[in-house]
């Protein structure tokens, strides 16, 4: 397990949430995610795992409780500041349809660097140039160099997930949030991709928060949260 540090990357305190005119999805959920830590949130379909990610990303507001990201309380930030924080400090990987299909692999991976100076500066500091950063992530995630200019929509699902991971980790964000990123892959590829994610997270000291309905993945992670149990509590 990664050594826990004093300042969490994400801290959820007594978090409650309900969609308008619906039963609460959660009540009093609390957890902390530290830099370099791998954290798994599990639970059956419909228990609100993806909604929790929206809350942590600052896209949806909680009904009650607090969310702190890198020592900044999300509820006190403006929408623009929240978007800025998300763009600079978080990377996202979804289950599928991660990429802008009309862009090349290169453009998809480098998108955060083009949108946020901080991500670009971090990539340049780490690799010297965006080209080198691109090559590093592609190589690390098992994407051959000849795919660089390939349109994203021509890639296989597995390749798309790797490109999404490269984009999420580019520029060393503090947190990478992955929403069932391996569920559309076979078991062999799932394990292989997870190992690549972990290696990158370790290298960059990035906190990895992953959501999955598959309890078999628990053993790969430092800690986990069973969302359904919380919801029922």
């Amino acid at each position: 397990m990664t050594a826990l540090q004093s300042t969490p990357a994400i801290r959820a305190v007594d978090l409650s949430f309900a969609w308008p005119k619906q039963k609460p999805l959660y009540a009093n959920v609390s957890f902390e995610l530290y830099p370099g830590e791998k954290y798994l949130i599990t639970g059956p379909s419909g228990c609100g795992k993806s909604t929790l990610l929206n809350l942590l990303a600052g896209v949806v507001k909680p009904s009650a409780g607090e969310i702190w990201v890198l020592d900044r309380r999300l509820q006190t930030l403006s929408q623009t500041a929240t978007d800025q924080l998300r763009g600079e400090q978080m990377g996202f990987i979804f289950q599928q349809f991660n990429l802008l299909p009309y862009l090349s692999v290169r453009d998809n991976i480098l998108l955060p660097a083009h949108l946020f100076a901080k991500r670009k500066a971090a990539a340049l500091a780490q690799f010297g140039s965006l080209d080198d950063a691109l090559r590093y992530y592609m190589n690390h995630l098992g994407l051959s160099a000849d795919l660089e200019n390939q349109a994203a929509h021509r890639l296989s699902i597995g390749q798309q997930q790797r490109v999404a991971a490269a984009r999420a980790f580019l520029g060393s964000p503090s947190i990478v949030i992955a929403d069932e990123p391996t569920s559309s892959l076979d078991e062999g590829n799932q394990t292989q991709l997870l190992k690549l994610f972990f290696a990158l997270a370790d290298e960059q000291q990035t906190a990895l928060l992953m959501v999955s309905h598959d309890p078999r993945l628990c053993s790969y992670f430092d800690r986990q949260l069973q969302l359904a149990e919380v919801s029922q509590s």
Binding site: S50, L53, G87, F92, F97, L100, P101, P112, H114
Partner: protein, 411 residues
């Protein structure tokens, strides 16, 4: 710039649908600019139906009526003035030239104009000198020669050396054929797109001689009436700046029944009577354009459902709501701008293809030209309206992005 790049790439990925939007915008813009251009050009062409003429002199009455019958050969030219005035007016030092216009006869419903040989040298149509397409202009005033306007020659199938009999009277009223005095076609004018194309030209002497034989006598120029009368004079001045002085001097002539009209002013007055039709045309053009703008808005709205994933990805990467707004608006802006440029190019191509036909068949002189201030104002209104309407799908995209969060429904 990255957002513009994204907007362009995204648009290119949906080029089929957007191409239809661009085409429909282009056609609407071409119609709008076309209507505006035809309106301007038609007005200019109308004002230039007769050019090079500084004053039209006729019997006192309505200036519009004088222009209608002397220039457009419309209406019944009942008022006449003495032909002998030509000498008095020529004596005015400011006057450069004078051409008589005598009306009242027709050939197969086309008006016959009695005039002098100077008509062909002095009068201009649409700012250009008259061109003899075949044969020659009138040269001998004491001959029964006739020169045809292009439309007359074309529609009646007349060629050089044809003999024609001119009828007394005009329009659909009763006519008396001068069948014993056949005129010989000696020349055919090139098309001008003006009323000049729709008339026949003979000398005033021949015109008078025709009427002298109405009682069945032998046609001869020797018996011309010294008290001959004409319907109007076209007058050219040595300097346009002296137009008001010349009018004063003409007014000072002893014949109190005279009226000197500036054709440009009278033609502008006549044109203003067509304002209703002109406005109706513009209204239709803007109607077409509004339909297109609504079409663009509808297409953008329909496309939004297919773009929810795209917008969610952009939000996840950190796109701010106003950037999503810009993203949608940029596409509308691009479609509209390309549509406007394509519409302008389409119009210019159509003008290049049909300029001659427009001039000769419709009397509208049109040529390649960059949009004028009025056109640019209209195009800016179009652009602004498109952007205004595009805020509807843009606002919906913004709302959807917030509502969908990072996980919109799968496509």
């Amino acid at each position: 710039m990255i957002w513009l790049h994204l907007a362009i790439q995204s648009a290119l990925a949906r080029k089929g649908a957007l191409l239809i939007m661009v085409l429909s915008t282009a056609i609407s813009v071409a119609i709008l600019l076309g209507v505006l251009k035809v309106r301007d050009d038609a007005k200019t062409s109308f004002s230039n139906a007769i050019s090079g003429v500084d004053l039209v002199l006729g019997s006192k009455g309505s200036p519009a009526e004088l222009i209608l019958y002397s220039v457009f050969h419309l209406g019944k030219p009942t008022n006449t003035i003495p032909a002998s005035l030509e000498k008095d007016i020529t004596a005015i030092p400011l006057v450069d030239w004078i051409v008589p216009i005598q009306l009242g006869d027709s050939y197969r419903n086309y008006p016959v104009v009695g005039t002098s040989t100077a008509f062909f040298e002095r009068v201009r149509a649409q700012g250009r000198p008259l061109v003899i397409q075949a044969g020659k202009a009138l040269t001998d005033p004491t001959s029964f020669d006739v020169v045809l306007g292009s439309r007359v020659a074309k529609s009646l199938g007349l060629t050089l050396s044809n003999q024609i009999a001119i009828a007394h009277g005009s329009g659909s009223g009763p006519k008396k054929d001068h069948s014993d005095s056949p005129f010989k076609v000696v020349g055919i004018l090139a098309a001008t797109g003006t009323p000049i194309d729709q008339a026949l030209y003979i000398s005033t002497q021949a015109f008078d001689a025709l009427h002298d034989i109405q009682d069945g006598g032998q046609l001869q120029f020797a018996k011309l009436d010294p008290n001959s009368r004409v319907n109007a004079f076209f007058i050219g001045l040595k300097s346009r700046a002296s137009i008001f002085s010349a009018r004063r001097q003409i007014d000072d002539l002893k014949n109190a029944n005279l009226m000197a009209v500036m054709p440009g002013v009278a033609l502008d007055d006549l044109w203003s009577t067509m304002e209703v039709a002109e406005n109706a045309l513009i209204l239709i053009a803007y109607g077409v354009l509004l339909t297109t703008i609504l079409g663009i808005t509808a297409t953008l709205l329909i496309a939004l459902d297919n773009r929810r994933r795209e917008l969610a990805i952009l939000r996840a990467i950190g796109a701010k709501p106003f950037q999503i707004l810009f993203f949608i608006l940029a596409e509308a802006f691009l479609v509209c701008m390309i549509g406007i440029l394509a519409g302008w190019a389409l119009l210019q191509a159509l003008i290049a293809m049909y300029a001659d036909q427009l001039r000769t068949e419709w009397g509208v002189v049109s040529s390649f030209g960059f949009p004028n201030t009025a056109d640019l104002t209209s195009l800016l209104i179009v652009l602004f309206t498109v952007l205004l309407f595009a805020t509807i799908p843009a606002a919906k995209a913004y709302k959807m992005a917030l509502h969908d969060g990072l996980n919109p429904p799968s496509p």
